[in-house]
């Protein structure tokens, strides 16, 4: 079992650009959540997808959007990047009968 996989592992973008991050959930999991972890901080919840719909959303602007595909994989899109968007972006998955979330290794986004 490959667990939760994220791509790419590192990314450098210029302010104002757009970025897409990808996540494949652990086998058997159907719910995907995204978190932003700024340097020296705890992860902050962005949103959660289940059955291809956004089910919950944290306190993030509309520049942050997502998608879930029929195979349960997910994308996180960020438009009009700001320097403050530089962070580690973590994807977590779980199944409906699971009470714990399994995290991927994250994508390190640097905005210059």
């Amino acid at each position: 079992d490959a667990g939760v996989t994220q791509s790419p592992t590192h990314l450098i973008k210029t302010r104002g650009q757009q970025v897409t991050l990808r996540c494949s959930p652990k086998s058997g999991h159907d719910t995907v959540s995204w978190y932003q972890q700024a340097l020296g901080q705890g992860p902050q919840f962005i949103f959660q997808y289940y059955e291809e719909e956004e089910r919950q959303r944290g306190n993030f602007p509309d520049r942050f959007s997502g998608h879930q595909f029929p195979n349960y994989s997910s994308e996180l899109n960020v438009n009009a990047l700001l320097l403050g968007d530089s962070a580690l972006y973590l994807c977590a998955s779980r199944g409906q009968m699971n009470t714990e979330a399994f995290f991927g290794q994250g994508t390190r986004l640097t905005v210059v």
Partner: protein, 118 residues
Amino acid sequence: AQSVTQLDSQVPVFEEAPVELRCNYSSSVSVYLFWYVQYPNQGLQLLLKYLSGSTLVESINGFEAEFNKSQTSFHLRKPSVHISDTAEYFCAVSEGADYGGATNKLIFGTGTLLAVQP
């Protein structure tokens, strides 16, 4: 609104000494509680969780945490630490989901760096 407080940003400790990492939470409803560990340049790994039942929960690598409802705490302890325990530890809380019956979003504390010295 839920929140998690980890009062200690860093805890230095000598190898084989005991350690306690503190976590307090606030919530108006019943919650699930978790401790995650993050090694450098890696994602989060679940260390242990409290859902219901016995208030003392244990991990396979010697850590334990006790849920104290009256003090709204979930402190993490280990009687004897190793160099390999050096990592960032995050306490998290989650309410029950409003759909599907599974846990909802996680609210994390700011983390505690456990620095084990030889």
